[in-house]
Subunit: 295 residues, 2 copies
Amino acid sequence: MAVTKKIVFGEITGIKEGHHFDNRKEMMPSAFHRNWGQGIDGNPREGAAAIALSGGYADDEDYGDVVIYTGAGGNKNKKQVEDQTWSNNGNGALLTSMNKGLPVRIFRGHKHRNEYSPKSGYRYGGLYSITEAWEEQGINGFKVCRYRLEYIGDYNKPLKSGEEPPTGGEKERKYSSSTIIRLVRNSAIAVEVKELYKYKCQVCSTALQVKGGLYAEGAHIKPVGEPHNGPDVLQNILCLCPNHHVLFDRGSFSIADDHTLLGIEDGKLHVEHGLGSTFLKYHRIIHGYEEETTG
Amino acid sequence: MAVTKKIVFGEITGIKEGHHFDNRKEMMPSAFHRNWGQGIDGNPREGAAAIALSGGYADDEDYGDVVIYTGAGGNKNKKQVEDQTWSNNGNGALLTSMNKGLPVRIFRGHKHRNEYSPKSGYRYGGLYSITEAWEEQGINGFKVCRYRLEYIGDYNKPLKSGEEPPTGGEKERKYSSSTIIRLVRNSAIAVEVKELYKYKCQVCSTALQVKGGLYAEGAHIKPVGEPHNGPDVLQNILCLCPNHHVLFDRGSFSIADDHTLLGIEDGKLHVEHGLGSTFLKYHRIIHGYEEETTG
């Protein structure tokens, strides 16, 4: 089916969080989701504006405020039958939304079955921000593209199906139509690593000079948070400048066990503390620098 | 008075958010705040661990979840009588906490007088993260150092004085003892600016190559949010790489009206869209590249 309506990002007038659709066809006139029968509405040039959680992918994980979404392709009758690729139209669209920082509408279908999904039809779950993209071996043994989405909707937490909006519970929108594109966290252990390297990037040796001192970021090798749950320990943290932190988190480069940089020519990581080899291996696998071996 | 106890960052065992102190002396054995009679507890090498909101500075602004804090120095009998400096011990301590991403404990005294302060004594208001530092002409005409602090405490919002903690309202701590060091926001207008420059940094021409495309950040010249309230418009946004975004936000460089870079030798901003000269002037003033003229 040809998509004729223009793609719309963010909120759509008249369709509030929690809005009920009896069927997919009802979404199309407002451009809420224009692609009947497909999970992802969008294209790699403009980005993805909306996605469906409809129970079609066994690998999807839905925590409400965080959704681990499986990309498109290679799926037949709810089973993965071949590898997914980043060049797939829908998967590229999701990458573009992440890179541009565009908000994504999520809706859940009755077959999705959790506390945020409706008993029948479809329910609008609010806006989400894509904060990570990686690949892994799915439940059925084939490569799947995976995305982490974080809730940035109207409330502090997404409303469960049937739950009334709290009075005065709507978030104060400080920046209209904005979304979080990047959130850099810190911890006591990260400060230790940065001090060890005197705030110099382990890739390019840059230390950003700021008022009152230097600035660098602690980068987790195996990401913290669902579904990776990497630990906040010295062996899992690098000291990087913001540019190399973005590139590392997005998998533009990775690190071999001998600290050679993969994806950066003739590069070698400057190392003064022990890095966990299982963490390095994890990073290489989720960004396609190494094959996952089963058993 | 000599400070003998070791500085402690973050939570202190036994002292919960909302904890009441009858007097300042009670804070000292636990190292909650060790400097009797001073607002800021810390030093430029280690950082600031705790600050007082006690009504001593006319310029302080307290929105609960956001606090605009005036630095130390040049103040007598609640009046500013000379310029503050970044080299002041307390001001340097706050900069270090910002640069390292360390959490800062806030407590409010009864003279502070708002809905978060107690009727008598002092009340612990929770942990905050310092997200900005700049200078301005204070109410009394002298230069003051200013900091923006954002609430990262135990609840979604800080509890008002006398307010009971909501049942189940305590935040799920996903990353223990972590704090947000940097939060990059995005908007539809920012995406427009980035597309215009093809994601190349206007300072160094870097465009970060990531899976599925390019990455850059939209940097507001006059910051958005309290107390600056810069607008989210084309004329107020630059396209920068993450490194130059950090340096620009922290005032390591600024921009003259002819787009010469101030603080970067022989630098010139690459410009393809009109920048607001009042926004540029604002940035130069708050980071000390230009004197504020009154009247």
